[in-house]
Structures are given as structure tokens and as C-alpha cells.
């Protein structure tokens, strides 16, 4: 048993065993595509949007996910449990380390998954 998880359209695909969250499923198969952070629903870097399929979720930090986002099918992959095959768009990202802008040195450009961090487009 389990469900097929597809990232994007025609993107990476992996099998998520029954009872596992999507991020765990990805890691168990040695696959990548969704950024891996705290794995506890707290940091927000593994944020995805469910494009197709049914799912349930565990407890996720309100600081990472607005009510509107939840309504729109956005979830943290570490707390996302598939009930059918899922197609996902990856929203969260771990930005490139060591970015610079005038007068400011950054270790990173901000984890886009965290609502109180400035968002940044690639």
C-alpha cells in the first residue's frame, strides 16, 4: 500500500508508504525535490501546495502557514499524509547560502516557508 507522489507536472515521482508523511516518504526512497528542514511542522521550509489528491495533515506552526494558505491546499510536507496519490508544487525553499546586498551580509536569503521572513523570488 501507499501512494504515488508527483512533484510538479512530469516532475520527480516517488512512492510514499502507508502511514508516512510525504517528506519521510521522499527521504526513505533517497529522493529529493522538497527542501528538508526541522521535520516537525515548525520551520516551514518543506511547504508544498497540493494540486491534486486527498490528504490529511498533522499539527503545523501557524507562523509558517496562514489560514488562507491552508484553505488553498498548502501544507508542510513533513505533516502531510496522503489519502490518495498526490501531485504537489514545491513552495518552500532553502535559499542559497551566502548572499550579499549592499550593507547587508546574509547567510541565506530567508527561508521562504516562514511567513515572517521576507519572501524572495529566484
Amino acid at each position: 500500500m501507499g501512494h504515488a507522489i508527483t512533484l510538479g507536472v512530469g516532475g520527480p515521482r516517488f512512492h510514499c508508504p502507508e502511514g508516512q508523511n510525504v517528506l519521510q516518504g521522499m527521504l526513505l526512497r533517497g529522493r529529493s525535490g522538497i527542501p528538508v528542514g526541522c521535520r516537525g511542522g515548525g520551520c516551514g521550509v518543506c511547504k508544498v501546495r497540493v494540486l491534486d489528491g486527498r490528504f490529511s495533515t498533522g499539527t503545523m506552526s501557524a507562523a509558517c502557514l496562514s489560514a488562507d494558505e491552508r484553505e488553498a491546499g498548502v501544507a508542510l510536507a513533513c505533516k502531510l499524509f496522503p489519502e490518495t496519490d498526490l501531485r504537489l508544487a514545491v513552495v518552500g525553499k532553502i535559499s542559497r547560502v551566502l548572499e550579499r546586498s549592499p550593507g547587508l551580509f546574509l547567510f541565506y536569503g530567508g527561508a521562504a516557508g516562514a511567513a515572517d521572513n521576507p519572501s524572495r523570488e529566484e
Partner: protein, 310 residues
């Protein structure tokens, strides 16, 4: 020097998404002892070698992260003096007194927000319940240790935007010293400050990031590199999300491993480091050597380690 003024980080108040799994983590995996609960549902914990009633406070909330960090000072006179200086400084905002026993067994606390957005507290009194081995002819360690069993809550690393302001407040008002720093732009821009109120390599550290009030990690002290390796075994045995390690930091020389609590708050257990005295020159790391500064063995930066915070 005699150690006066601010003595040490006395408590960290953490938000957790689920109290049951958090309590299991902090007691069975990390190995702290529960010392109390209050009417708000907060749970109080301490490490085996700590004397005061608690050093970690857990509160269930809808987000993870740090509510505040409390600093123990040497006397009520120091508490009043520092509170007055903080009240008078533009660097400290949202100042207030928290009544005694708002946290059980803790005296009144002076609360303020530092320029990076973190809430800090000073307090002079907390009931001493004593360490697990006692103070008369003690054994070196107690028999009933569980999990990683650190001896104490040791320090925090915090992310925030106004590093200059927070470092200035800790150094100029609270009397901390700059033990190590990371600089960029040929030394013109400080991007990390490691600060000590004692003779540790750090009691708190700040990294400049374009955010307010973020927690990178809360750290607990182990006795040896072998205990760090044993912590790694426990992380695997208990299927705890591992972040990084075991390895060594260039900065502070600490031997370390990082992992996450069930709500995503990063924990560290570490050993080693060095003893800092006030006549020791500040150690400076330059941005072109950040790899070995942070992880001395593989000399590479790790994006998840630097990006993930709560």
C-alpha cells in the same frame, strides 16, 4: 575577576506545538527532569547538575520558537540597577516587571525586548532545589540519568536584523564581552557576535539576518566528545530528526551535534570549548573562512543548518 552582574542564562521559554511529544523529547531523549507545572499548562524542567528549580519552560502554542530567554543576576541590587539602565536606554523596548511566582518558584523578573526582537528577562532569585548528586560528599554523576543527560542549559543562538543594537545592549548595559565574531566586507560589517557574561566561549550569540526574533538553537552541555557520540546513537535509536554532526565548530571549538525537537525547535548538545578570561583577545573569523568557522571538519557551509529557524 570575580563573576558579578549577569551570571548566566537562567531559563529559556520555548513554544511547542504538542506538549505530550515535547515533554517526551525533553525528558526521555534530551534527559531533563520535570520539576513542575503551572495553572497555564506550562511545564518546567531542569538538567541534572543545575541547582535552580528550572532552566527550560515549555508552553504549548500554535507556533514553535522562543518566547523569552531569562538571565540570572547576582543580587536584587543588580536587578534594580540593570532594570533602571535598561529603562533609560533606547536599545531596550517594551520593558515591564513580571511579578514573583508568575513562573513558580521564581522571583520577580524584569522583561525587555532587544533590538533583534528577542524578549529577554533578568531575575535575581529562583528557588534552589539542588542538583541530583547533592552538595555534601557528592558522587560525580547520579544513577538515574536518562537520554543524553546534559549537565545544564548552556546558551542560545539567535537570528535577528539589528545585530549592532543587540550586541551593544548586551556589552554596554549588561556587561557581556565579545569572545568571537564573524566579519564581512574586510572587517567593516559584523555578521555574528558571540557574547559571554561568564568565562564560557559564549552565553548567547546573535547572527545578523533580515528577520526579527528567531531562534536558531538552544544548547545543552555534555561532559565529553564520547557523550556527543552517544547522543548521536540516541538520535538514531529514537528516530529524532538529525540536523548535523557529530562534528566540531571552529568558532568556540565546541564538539557538537544538532537535532530538532518534535515541534521543529533546534537543540544542540555539545562538549569542549575553552575557558574565556576578560584579557583574552576577541577571536575574529572572516567571511571567506565561514566553512571551517562553522563546521571545522568538512569546511563547508550547510544550507539547511543556516536557513532553518523557528
Amino acid at each position: 575577576m570575580a563573576m558579578t552582574g549577569v551570571l548566566r542564562p537562567g531559563h529559556i521559554a520555548l513554544r511547542v506545538l504538542d506538549m505530550d511529544s515535547a515533554l517526551q523529547h525533553y525528558t526521555e531523549v534530551l534527559g531533563l527532569s520535570e520539576t513542575g507545572r503551572d495553572s497555564q499548562g506550562r511545564i518546567y524542567l531542569k538538567a541534572w547538575d543545575e541547582a535552580d528549580h528550572h532552566s527550560v519552560v515549555l508552553r504549548q502554542a500554535d507556533s514553535a520558537g522562543m518566547d523569552y530567554l531569562g538571565w540570572k543576576v547576582d543580587s536584587d541590587q543588580t536587578l534594580e540597577r540593570l532594570a533602571a539602565e535598561l529603562e533609560a536606554s533606547p536599545l531596550a523596548t517594551e520593558t515591564s516587571w513580571i511579578a514573583a511566582d508568575e513562573q513558580p518558584r521564581c522571583g520577580r523578573r524584569f522583561r525587555f525586548t532587544v533590538p533583534t526582537g528577542h524578549v529577554m528577562e533578568l531575575f535575581a532569585q529562583k528557588d534552589i532545589v539542588g542538583c541530583a548528586t547533592g552538595y555534601q560528599n557528592p558522587d560525580p554523576w547520579p544513577d538515574d540519568l536518562r537520554g543524553m543527560a546534559p549537565s545544564r542549559f548552556d546558551h542560545c543562538l539567535l537570528y535577528g536584523d539589528d545585530l549592532d543594537g543587540s550586541a551593544k545592549l548586551f556589552i554596554d548595559i549588561l556587561g557581556f564581552n565579545l569572545t568571537e565574531q564573524i566579519v564581512a566586507d574586510g572587517g567593516k560589517l559584523q555578521i555574528a557576535a558571540f557574547l559571554a557574561c561568564s568565562n564560557k566561549a559564549h552565553d548567547v550569540a546573535f547572527i545578523r539576518q533580515p528577520v526579527k526574533n528567531r531562534l536558531h538553537h538552544a544548547s545543552f552541555q555534555l561532559g565529553s566528545w564520547n557523550e556527543v557520540l552517544r547522543a548521536a546513537d540516541i538520535i538514531s535509536k529514537r528516530k529524532v530528526p538529525l540536523d548535523l554532526g557529530p562534528t566540531r565548530h571552529g568558532i568556540t571549538r565546541g564538539e557538537t551535534i544538532y537535532f530538532f525537537d518534535p515541534s521543529g525547535n533546534r537543540n544542540e548538545v555539545f562538549s569542549g570549548g575553552y575557558i574565556w578570561y576578560p584579557d583574552k583577545p576577541t577571536i575574529t573569523w572572516t567571511d571567506d573562512q565561514l566553512g571551517p568557522a562553522i563546521f571545522y571538519h568538512d569546511r563547508k557551509l550547510n544550507e539547511a543548518f543556516l536557513s532553518v529557524s523557528t
